[in-house]
Symmetry: C2
Subunit: 245 residues, 2 copies
C-alpha cells in the first residue's frame, strides 16, 4: 500500500468524495496506525494530485462521519472504528456471533405487520403464497453503532405473539425459545452487495454512496422446516462476514 496512487478523474462523483473514500479505506486498512493521524492536508493534496481545498472537503466529510477529528495546529486525528466480524454458519445468530467484539448489542423494532406471503417469501418459507406471515423491520446496533437493517418473515400460525416477545427480548433466538422452538439452524445464505439507498442512509447513519453487504437468509428448525426468512442490509465499512467450512 506504499505510495498512494493519484486519483483518476471520474465523472459523476465529486473529487472530494472519491478522495474521502480513499482516505477512509487507508484508515481502515491501518495505513496510519503508527501515528494515529492522517498526513497533513498539504501532503495528501500532493499525493492525490489535487488542491488542498479539495482534500479539506474530503476530510470534512470524514469528520462528519466521525472517522477523523481535525485539531487546528496539530493535525487530523483518527477516531478508530474496527470492522466487526460476523461468522456465518449453521449456528449463525446475530448477538452471539458478535460475541465479545461488542459490549452491548441492541435490536430496535422499527415496525411490524401481519400480511400475506408474497411469492418470494412463500418460496423461501416453503409455504403457499398468501399464507399469513409476520414481518419484522429491525435495526441492529453494536455498541450504539448501527450495523444492520433487516426485514424478517415468520410463518404466523406457528409463532403467535411473536412481536411482543421480540420487542422485549430483542432476540430472535430468545423469542423462538419462548415460543417452544429451542433450537434452529441457518439453512441458506445468499450474499450480494449494493449501494445504500435513502432508507439505509437514514437507519444506519450512513453517507451517500456507502456500500452495503446484503444477505438473504433462511433458518429452519431441526427437522428442516423453514421458520424464518430475512433480508439484512449491513454497513460494509462496519462488518465483514466469515464462513468457516
Amino acid at each position: 500500500m506504499a505510495g498512494m496512487k493519484q486519483v483518476q478523474r471520474q465523472t459523476g462523483v465529486a473529487l472530494w468524495r472519491q478522495i474521502a473514500d480513499r482516505i477512509r479505506e487507508a484508515i481502515s486498512s491501518g495505513a496510519y496506525d503508527e501515528t494515529g493521524m492522517v498526513p497533513p492536508e498539504t501532503v495528501l493534496a500532493l499525493q492525490f494530485g489535487v488542491n488542498r481545498h479539495t482534500v479539506r472537503s474530503a476530510l470534512a466529510a470524514l469528520a462528519q462521519e466521525g472517522i477523523v477529528r481535525a485539531v487546528q495546529g496539530r493535525g487530523t486525528l483518527i477516531e478508530r472504528k474496527e470492522r466487526l466480524n460476523f461468522p456465518i454458519s449453521r449456528r449463525t445468530r446475530f448477538t452471539d456471533g458478535l460475541g465479545d467484539q461488542a459490549r452491548e448489542t441492541h435490536s430496535l423494532l422499527l415496525g411490524h405487520a401481519e400480511e400475506a406471503a408474497s411469492a418470494e417469501v412463500a418460496r423461501w418459507l416453503r409455504i403457499e403464497q398468501g399464507t399469513p406471515v409476520i414481518r419484522l423491520e429491525t435495526v441492529r446496533d453494536a455498541d450504539r453503532r448501527p450495523v444492520a437493517r433487516g426485514t424478517s418473515w415468520f410463518p404466523a400460525a406457528r409463532f403467535p405473539g411473536l412481536v411482543e416477545i421480540y420487542r422485549q427480548t430483542e432476540s430472535v433466538t430468545k423469542t423462538f425459545a419462548a415460543l417452544g422452538l429451542s433450537d434452529y439452524v441457518r439453512a441458506t445464505t445468499e450474499i450480494t452487495a449494493a449501494h445504500a439507498d435513502s432508507g439505509d442512509i437514514a437507519d444506519l447513519e450512513l453517507t451517500p454512496g456507502a456500500v452495503l453487504l446484503i444477505t438473504k437468509a433462511m433458518n429452519t428448525d431441526l427437522e428442516g422446516v423453514p421458520v424464518q426468512y430475512s433480508i439484512s442490509r449491513f454497513a460494509a465499512d462496519r462488518v465483514q462476514f466469515t464462513i468457516e467450512n
Copy 2:
C-alpha cells in the same frame, strides 16, 4: 417496490449518477420485465422529480455500461444480464461453481511473481514470514464478461512450475492435479464489500463508483495444510454468493 420514490439530493454524487444507480437496481429487480423497456424519459423525469436532460445523462451512462440501448422513436430497451450465482462451500471451485450458468469461462493470467511471504500471507498459509511463495494475478471471465479479479498465493516449494501449468489449464483445480494434489477444500472465506478502485474499473470493465464483493479465502489439502490463499474482487452487479450449510 411500487411508486419509485423521488431522489433525495446528496452532495458529492451527481444527480444523474444517483438516478442511473436507481434505474440499474430497478432493472435488476425485474421492475420492467413486462415491457422489456425502461419507461420514457419524460416519465422517469417526473418520477424522480428531475429534468429530462438529467435522466438522459443517467440513461447514457447505463447505455455505456451496456445495460440499456436507446432507440430513437421506440424507447430505451433493456439488455438483460443476470447475476451469476457463485456457491461457497468446502468444495468451492470457480469454474465448476458457475456450472451451467455460463457457457465458457476463462482465466486470464495478468502477472505472476515468486516472492517472500508477507506477514498476512504467511499467517493464512501458516508458514514462516519470508518463505518463498508464488503469486498469481488473474481476471476471470464468464461468457466474455469479466466477473472477478484476484491475487492468489501458493507455497513455492510445494508447487514447482505452477505458473506454466496454470497458464495452460486456466484452472487451479487442474494445476493442483497436475502437481500431484488431487483434491482440496475451502477452509475459510471472509467476505467484505467496497467500492471499485481504478484497477478494478480497468480489469473488470466497471464504471466509477461500482460496488465489489471481496473475498479472502484459504484452501487446504485433505490433511488441512494450507495450499492457497487468495483475495478476489467480484463485480457485485454480476455475481451473488450462496452459502448452503
